[in-house]
Each structure stands twice: as C-alpha cells, then as structure tokens.
C-alpha cells in the first residue's frame, strides 16, 4: 500500500501540515504536543472566519444603520435558517469523505408531501410523522446505495437529487398549497417568544450544540473523523464505517425534511420546486467552514461561523445597491477561496514535486 496516497483520495492527512484539528488516536507519549500541533491549523481557520464575520458585520453596519436592528437580524436568520440546518448533517457526511447533494430534493419532497397530505385533510401531527419517516427513508436509500452497493456518494446523491425532485412533482403536480393555518405559518413572521430568533435558527442552535458535542467529544464523533481520514484503517480499528455513514445519510434526510416543513410554513407555500438550488448553498457553507472536501477535517464552530458569514454577506449585499445578480459571484469567489486556501500548501507541494521531477528528467 502506497503510504503517500492512503485510500486513493490524495488526502494529505499523513503530513504534519495537514493534520486535522480532531483525529482518532495518537501515541500517548506525544499526546499533549501532538494535540496542540493538531489544533493549530483548525483553530487558524476558525480565527480567520471570526475575522471575516467581524469584517462583514462592520461592512453591514456601514451600509445601513438598520443592519443590527432586531428586524433585520431576524430576516437574516429567517432567510438562511434552512441552509444552516442542513449544513450540520452535511458537515458530518463530508468529514466522513462522502457528500449528499440530494438535500434540496428531500426538502422539496417534504414540502410536496406536506401540501398533498394537507389537501387530503390529514391531521398535522400525522403529516409530520409521515414526513419524518419519508426523510429517514430518503436518507437510508442514499446510505445503503453508498455503503452496501459501494457506489460513490457523489453519483448516488446526484441521482437521488433528480429522483426525489421527480417524486415531489408526482406527489403535488404543479399545484401550490397555501392554506396552512396561522399557527404554523407564523414561523415566517414571529420569533421564538421572548427572543428575536426565528424558529429555524432556534432549531439550528440546538442541533449545532448537539452536533458539536457528538462530533468533538464522543467516540462516535472521533470515529467520523477516522473514517474520513482513512476508511480502511478505521474499519480495521473496529469502527462500523458502513453503519455510521448510513446513519449520517438518514440524519441528513430527516433534517432536510424538517427544513422542508419550515420553509413551506414560512412561505405559506407547498410547491414541488421549493428548495431548488439549496444543495450548493449548503455545500458552500460547509466548505467555507473549513471542512475539508477530502474528508477527515472540520469543526462545528466553523459551521456556525460560516453560517453567520454566508447569511451576513447576502444580507449586507442586499442592503447596498450592489447589482443583485452579481451577489452570486461574490459568494462563489468566497467558496473558491475557502476550498483553495487550505489546500494551497498541498498544491504547492505538488508543484514542487513536479518541478523536481522535471529537472531530474533533464540530462544536464
């Protein structure tokens, strides 16, 4: 087995420069120094994000004195709540070295289900249950295809991205359902009582804390990093890679279904194309958070900061007279930077190696 390219992912986790912030196992003697050395790169990225968030906050405030008003912050949170929620299981999945692009379609399927079942006068509690089960099943399909059949998650979830959207269209057709009672649609206008936080962000905060604890302070979390760094070694270490990945995909399906319900209520519109385009926004947030696309590296604190940065920059740009159509360019550029920079050192190493090989080939 070639030590240079473990599991064929090109993952540079072996070299000290790219050791993850949290990783399974290490020699007991060097634990303290090793831990510090390993924390440094991760903490550096989160610190960079803090600076970015502060810069965006200053920018927002300079553009409009209303930026920090309760109303604007409420809107900021409300418009990004679903993306924030879906970013959490996406983070876990990406850390294991997989990806789930079907989240926007599971969201759409959930919205269509909500609409069509409401049209058939099912009680709302029953509808919620059905949607939860469907979300779990949707994730299970992804997980089983990836782990049992062994297909790459990118391919599988691109397939389910189309499949679930198609199911949403079959369920609801071109109809829109907009007759939901105020009790539920109030999530779109009212904050959680005694706060200015929208319900979706409330869910996000609770889920983020839970994810943070699980990911960074439990063996289950460490096993997620381990399988991202080296799936074969993780399997030999006794970690149940397939079962964990399936669980993560099912969690992603469940949370996407929840996001679908929240989006439908806040817009008071169940329509099959709810959520189109959100998968890429979610991946953008997760990559901005410093989660490595190759797996094995990332933190929930980063996700939290990335959500703030993403929502903040979109809101701030809306408040300027910046050409709204170019907002995508700014966000796309941010995403490219966030992918390139952590891999810059790896990229330069490859360049150096290529240069060395080239000079060796020349006779003089």
């Amino acid at each position: 087995m070639d030590p240079e390219t473990p599991a064929g992912t090109g993952n540079a986790a072996m070299t000290p420069e790219h050791v993850a912030g949290d990783e399974a196992g290490s020699g007991p003697g060097t634990e303290a120094d090793g831990l510090l050395a390993r924390l440094r790169p991760a903490v550096r990225w989160e610190l960079g994000l803090v600076v970015v968030v502060i810069a965006i906050a200053i920018f927002g405030n300079s553009v409009s004195s209303e930026f920090f008003s309760a109303n604007n912050l409420f809107n900021l949170g409300l418009n990004s709540g679903e993306i924030a929620l879906m970013a959490l299981p996406m983070t876990l999945i990406i850390i294991t070295g997989e990806i789930d692009l079907s989240v926007e379609s599971t969201l759409g399927m959930s919205s269509a289900l909500l609409g069509v079942l409401w049209l058939h006068h099912l009680p709302m509690v029953a509808i919620f249950l059905v949607i939860a089960v469907v979300g779990l099943l949707a994730g299970a399909v992804n997980g089983l295809l990836v782990t049992r059949v062994g297909l790459p998650s990118l391919a599988v979830t691109i397939g389910t991205l189309a499949l679930y959207r198609g199911i949403a269209l079959i369920l609801l057709g071109p109809r829109t359902v907009a007759s939901f009672p105020n009790l539920y649609t109030n999530v779109g206008v009212e904050a959680i009582p005694h706060t200015d936080i929208p319900y979706s962000i409330g869910f996000f905060i609770v889920l983020a804390i839970a994810s943070g604890v699980v990911l960074h302070a439990t063996p289950f979390g460490r096993s997620i990093f381990a399988m991202g760094n080296n799936p074969e070694a993780a399997t030999f270490a006794g970690i149940r890679v397939k079962r964990t990945k399936t669980i993560l995909f099912m969690l992603s399906g469940l949370i996407s279904a929840l996001a679908g319900v929240l989006l439908t209520f806040r817009l008071n519109t169940a329509v099959q194309d709810n959520g189109v385009g959100l998968s890429l926004d979610v991946v953008a947030v997760v990559l901005l958070a410093g989660v490595s696309i190759f797996g094995g590296k990332g933190s929930i604190a980063g996700v939290f900061l990335a959500v703030l940065a993403f929502a903040g920059i979109q809101n701030a740009l809306l408040l300027t007279n910046f050409n709204q159509e170019a907002t995508g360019a700014v966000i796309g550029a941010l995403l490219l930077i966030s992918v390139f920079v952590p891999n810059a050192a790896l990229f330069s190493r490859h360049l150096r190696q290529a240069a060395v090989r080239a000079t060796r080939r020349q006779p003089t």
Partner: protein, 354 residues
C-alpha cells in the same frame, strides 16, 4: 515557502473578503442609511420629494420587466423620477418567492417609502407585504397580484379579457377544432393562473377543442424550451399552443420555428413585438397580444408616489392622473385597469418598438 503557506489561510481569507467587500462598497456608492421616517401620507396634498420607491419585479434579468421598470423605456422608474422621487429596481434572480422575499425585506430595511411589486406568489409574499403596510409603506402590485396584501393593484388589462381573448385568437387559427396545450410560467404565478382560469372557462364555448396539458417554463428560456418540446412529443396531434408569458412564447416560437411544426401547430399568447417580429414575418406565429409593459410600470410608479403623498388612499371610486397616460379611476378590490390588450399581427407589428 512552507511557513508562509501555513500562515496563508488567515491572511489570505481576510484579504480577499475585505477586498471583495471593498469592491462591493465602491460599486454601490454611498448608500444612505435607512431611518428617515417612512413617509406617512398626510393627505395635505403637498408633495414630498426625495422619497425612495423600490420596484420589485418577479425577477431580475427578465426583458419584460426591464422594459416595465426602467427609466430609459419610460417605465416605473421614469414615472417615479419625474415626480422628484427616487426609483430603485431590486429583486432576486429566480422567479420564486424564496428569492423575491429577501429583496423586499431589504428594501424595507433600506428605508423604502413605497413598494411596487410583481408578485411571484399570491400568498407567500403576504406576511412581508402586510408588515410593510403596517409600517405605513404603501404597496402597489402590478402585473401579478398578491390579493388582500397590497394597497393597490395595477392590472394590465381585465383578467377575464386576457384569458378569453387568447382562446378566441387561437380558436380562429385552428378552426375551432383540435388539441391545444398551454406553456405557462411558474406554477404559482398569480396572473398566469388567473388567466388560465378564464381560458378554461372560455374553452367551454369550443367543444371540439381539447386542452390536453399545461406545462410550466418558470419564465426561464431553457426550461420553457424543454417543456414545449416535451409537450409536442407527448401530443403529436397538438394543433395549438397558448403561452401567456413573454419568455414562454419566445421559447415556444423557437421550438416551432421549423418546417416540421410551422403552420401545423399554431402559437399565440403574450409576447413583446420586438422579440416576436421574426416569427410573425416567417409565419410561425400569426397573432399575439400584449399591453405596453412600460405603461404598466409607469402607471404603477405614479400610483405609488400618489399614495405616499396622500393624493389617493387606494379606495374604489378615487381618480388620479398618471402624467402622460391620462387619468384613471380605482375600481373594485383596489384595482386599476391599464386598458384593453393590444393584438399584434403582421399588419401592425412594425409600429411598435418594445
């Protein structure tokens, strides 16, 4: 090199984001911070100037709305500017409520004194629009309504007239017999569904015409082309298509502009004369309708400013003058009609330039 790159992430990300923000700040100029009181029309008749009216079409980059909103074409912003106020166009890029709502919220945060909105969805915008009305910001919908959540709705033509006349136009072209399909915009669009409703009613007068399918192009050229092709493949005996959306009819005309379909499948709908000239001259389309979108926008802009200044309250029976367009009376359900639709065909299309 290695040490530099280790410090790179922090420095580089900060540098790039700050410069991106600097570019954005420079290109936006000095944007005045919101907070100067959202003008509550005092009804005293003295017109305030310098008010900000935000024009929010269904989406940006849609040529129909560019004509309806721009100053250069004599649209909404031209009307607003001519009255001494400032008109600003903003919206999302996808014709969906999830895309349009943040733009409306931002407009309110930026201190809008009035909103002129073409609604992507009849109900999804209501909480946001009602919140604006509560803050004494008049909301004028134009082109596509959000019933019950606005101060005034500027309707381009009687909804019933648009629906029925489209069917009558097509029926004549296919000799009252055959299968027809509809290529619409977004499934949720208020105006589309209202017109289609009247189309279906009018079709009862033609028992030999059968509406076999309605497909949705989402006001996106690529999607509209695809759904039209799908429609033609699914129903090989299709005789006619109605596309009551300027993006849709253009896409459908592109698909039908071939020897295989020209003359065999008739197309009509709502289109702009400039974009349809080529298809009328080569016979793909015999006739289609529209109104002048710039006039629609102009009227909406004028009405919005009149509402801010208290010249009208939006109630039935009130009359107001809209500059070059003449005077209008508010009808039932706070609606103002621009006028009857115009039918364009080979004989008159060269007279119009929009």
């Amino acid at each position: 090199m290695r040490a530099f790159l280790r410090r790179a992430p922090l420095a580089a990300s900060t540098l790039v984001v700050t410069s991106a923000l600097a570019v954005a700040a420079c290109s936006s100029g000095s944007s005045p911070s919101g907070g100067s009181g959202s003008g509550s029309g005092s009804g005293s008749g003295s017109a305030k100037t310098g008010q900000k009216v935000y024009v929010v079409p269904k989406n940006l980059g849609n040529p129909y709305f560019t004509v309806a909103d721009s100053k250069g074409s004599g649209g909404a912003i031209a009307a607003i500017d001519s009255l001494g106020d400032t008109g600003i166009e903003t919206s999302g890029t996808a014709a969906s409520s999830a895309s349009q709502i943040p733009a409306i919220q931002a407009a309110v945060t930026k201190g809008a004194n009035a909103l002129v909105v073409s609604a992507t969805d009849p109900t999804a915008l209501c909480p946001t629009l009602n919140a604006a009305i509560k803050r004494k910001i008049p909301v004028v919908t134009y082109d596509s309504d959000a019933p019950g959540c606005r101060s005034l709705f500027i309707n381009q033509a009687s909804t019933a007239a648009i629906g029925t006349s489209e069917v009558d136009l097509l029926a004549k072209e296919i000799n009252d017999t055959g299968q027809i399909g509809i290529v619409s915009a977004a499934a949720s669009a208020t105006n589309q569904n209202a017109w289609i409703g009247y189309m279906k009613q009018e079709l009862k007068k033609y028992p030999k015409i059968k509406l076999v399918s309605t497909v949705y192009g989402n006001d996106d050229p690529a999607t509209a082309t695809q759904v039209t092709q799908g429609l033609l493949e699914q129903y090989p005996n299709l005789k006619g298509i109605i596309s009551p959306t300027t993006v849709g009819i253009l896409a459908a005309a592109g698909v039908l502009d071939s020897a295989k379909y020209r003359g065999k499948v008739q197309l009509t709908g709502l289109g702009t004369p400039d974009s349809m000239k080529k298809y009328v001259s080569d016979g793909t389309v015999k006739a289609f309708e529209l109104w002048n979108p710039a006039n629609l926008g102009y009227l909406a802009g004028y009405a919005a400013v009149d509402l801010i200044n208290g010249k009208i309250k939006g109630n039935q029976g009130e009359t107001f003058s809209a500059g070059k367009l003449g005077s209008f009376t508010i009808g039932a359900d706070h609606t103002v009609l621009l006028g009857p639709p115009t039918v364009f065909n080979a004989s008159n299309i060269s007279n119009y330039h929009f």
